[in-house]
């Protein structure tokens, strides 16, 4: 489980950094990352879907507000 979390977190950080064109870390959130505006957020979600091969439901989309929350949603998906 720890391995899955670490792997997922690394992929999420990589994908979000690429979408935002700036480096983020495990503590990054929409609030503390200036580049993570509403327009970039669309690219973040689409990039995560493409990279991780999944589609977020509408209720999941509203939770994707930080790296930690994204990792939680993705891990739940894996567990489901």
């Amino acid at each position: 489980m720890a391995n899955l979390r670490e792997t997922t977190e690394a992929r999420v950080i990589h994908t979000v950094s690429r979408a935002l064109k700036s480096q983020v870390n495990a503590d990054s959130t929409r609030d503390n990352t200036p580049n993570w505006d509403s327009l970039r957020h669309i690219e973040v979600v689409f990039s995560l879907e493409d990279e991780l091969g999944l589609e977020f439901s509408e209720s999941e989309q509203v939770q994707l507000l930080s790296i930690k929350q994204i990792v939680e949603v993705v891990i739940k998906r894996h567990a489901a």
């Binding site: 690429r18 979408a19 669309i42 493409d50 509408e58 989309q61």
Partner: protein, 551 residues
């Protein structure tokens, strides 16, 4: 050279079979030599996320948009309108609560309202169950074009709408459809209304039109894969639309002739090429000869070659030239060619298709011109006919093409579209003349446009262009004089004023005016005056048949 290489490198990503959104957004294309174009966007759903995808594609085509985005407005009030090169209506038709008939009536009224305000081409990008009816409405209004997003996505096997992400992205358009639409907007739909067209495509031979090397593998050994066959058929289709096809290859001429004579499986025949440059000469020089032979500017020529070095060298030597990198898998070359900006048009007129036959007849005309010194004998032998029409509403699209595209014999460079020409006709004492040219070898179609207004006893010629396909036939002066003499606005005038713009390539027009005015010094920017008596007294040259057509 680095800019050309950066574009060629990006080509693989942009035109891959399944382009990745992240890969496209990662691209950094040069914009130093790209043209900035202001585009108004009237919308009721998100366009921003699409515009970021448009940019890499448009920069590949050496342009980028400065978007003037409206607020979300279901009523299309066009608030805050400002002049722009194009008007894009980006409409989610699903937001309307009215029935289809009422919606069609409403959108027609809104298009008319925008048409009355703007002279720029209008592109309506939306979807509707009765798309055909929408297309008919758009055809009724000058320079209004319909991009049917549903049909576009259907043709690409892509879902257009997706409710799941509409709240997130502010548009019901599926993320995959956004890629398809962005590529279409940047490469086809917008360039078709914004820029002069590509008039000719020059192809390398080896590893471009077939696999293998002719000099090494021989005519029987080079490979026509299914994809190469499809590419050759695509090239033939371009020719049928009036786009010149040229061959530029480092080979022996006799080997190339033997190849096309013996390979009956090749869809392309050697006579399909309007210009052939097969030699060991440098390709930039060969491409310049192709442009000269086809009487086109280098910015109307696209060069397709498998050798990136050759392409970069050609682009460095001829900065206006367009370049495309042929790939070992010809499907990629086909896709990139399909999307190359400027190759696709909304409408292909009869005049486009006349172009190739007309050019092929030039060799015979040139032979006659060298053989016959007497102009009357030359005109009679060609059976030249000029047909003049005044204020011809049905020809405004073609006349707009002449104004927008002509570079060499263009005196005033007004670059007027069909809407501007229609507006011009509504001015007091204005006249528009069109001139059609034919001879026994070919019909050249409508080849000249003159726009003039009378003020007191002065006829002010504000636009004058003659297509390059009509140049070199000793007719330029006759075309202008006879067109002016027949203008309703000319009657009673004592002076004729010409607007003159100095441009990089309009020396033929400037030279004509200098000769017409019997000046020793070149004409300059501004206006030049000609006595009306020289127009009154002008007689059609012996041997030229002159007709006056219906308005």
């Amino acid at each position: 050279m680095t800019q050309a290489l950066a574009r060629l490198a990006a080509q693989k990503v942009l035109f891959s079979a399944s382009p990745s959104r992240a890969d496209i957004l990662d691209l950094t294309l040069p914009n130093a030599d790209a043209v900035r174009v202001a585009i108004n966007v009237w919308r009721n759903h998100n366009f921003e996320s699409l515009s970021t995808l448009v940019e890499p594609y448009s920069l590949f085509g050496r342009w980028y948009a400065s978007w003037n985005l409206s607020a979300y407005d279901d009523s299309l009030a066009f608030a805050g309108w400002q002049p722009a090169a194009a008007e894009l209506i980006w409409l989610d038709s699903g937001r309307s609560a009215t029935g289809t008939e009422a919606w069609l009536s409403w959108i027609e009224q809104r298009l008319q309202a925008l048409r009355a305000r703007s002279r720029a081409p209008i592109l309506l990008a939306t979807w509707l169950d009765v798309a055909g009816a929408l297309g008919v409405i758009c055809e009724r209004i000058p320079e209004v074009y319909f991009l049917d997003l549903r049909q576009l996505c259907r043709a690409h096997g892509t879902e257009l709408l997706n409710d799941r992400t509409s709240a997130l992205s502010g548009t019901p358009i599926h993320k995959a459809a956004q890629l398809v639409i962005a590529r279409e907007l940047a490469c086809r739909a917008l360039p078709a209304v914004l820029f002069p067209p590509i008039k000719a495509v020059a192809f390398d031979l080896d590893e471009t039109l077939h696999g293998g090397v002719l000099a090494e593998d021989g005519a029987a050994g080079v490979q026509l894969t299914e994809a190469h066959r499809a590419l050759q058929e695509q090239i033939r289709a371009l020719r049928e639309r009036g786009i010149f096809i040229a061959l530029v290859s480092r080979n022996e001429r006799r080997d190339v002739e033997q190849l096309f004579a013996t390979r009956e499986d090749y869809p392309l025949r050697i006579e399909d090429f309007s210009a052939i440059e097969v030699s060991w000469d440098e390709k930039p020089a060969a491409l310049q000869r192709v442009a000269a032979r086809l009487r086109i500017a280098l910015d109307a020529l696209l060069f397709v070659d498998d050798n990136a070095g050759e392409l970069a060298a050609a682009a460095a030597a001829l900065p206006a030239l367009h370049t495309l990198h042929a790939q070992p898998h010809a499907e990629h070359t086909m896709r990139a060619l399909h999307y190359y900006p400027g190759l696709w048009r909304y409408r292909t007129g009869g005049d486009d298709r006349l172009r190739i036959a007309d050019m092929q007849a030039n060799a015979a005309r040139e032979e006659l011109a060298t053989r016959l010194d007497d102009p009357a004998e030359y005109f009679r032998s060609l059976q030249i006919q000029l047909t003049f029409r005044y204020n011809p509403l049905d020809q405004l699209e073609r006349l707009a093409e002449l104004s927008m595209k002509t570079n060499q014999f263009n005196l005033a460079f007004k670059r007027w579209g069909a809407t501007a020409l229609r507006d011009y006709l509504s001015l007091a004492d204005s006249s528009i003349a069109s001139v059609q040219l034919s001879d026994r070898l070919s019909d050249s179609g409508v080849i000249a446009l003159l726009c003039a207004r009378r003020r007191a006893q002065v006829l002010h010629v504000e636009e004058l262009c003659i297509s390059c396909r009509a140049l070199g036939r000793r007719l330029e002066h006759s075309i202008v004089m006879l067109a002016l003499r027949g203008m309703p606005a000319f009657q009673g005038c004592t002076r004729v004023l010409f607007d003159v713009a100095l441009a990089p390539r309009n020396q033929p027009a400037l030279q004509w005016l200098q000769t017409a005015l019997a000046r020793t010094e070149p004409v300059g920017q501004g206006t030049c005056e000609l006595l009306a008596s020289s127009v009154h007294d002008f007689e059609a040259p012996e041997g030229v048949l002159v007709h006056t057509g219906q308005a």
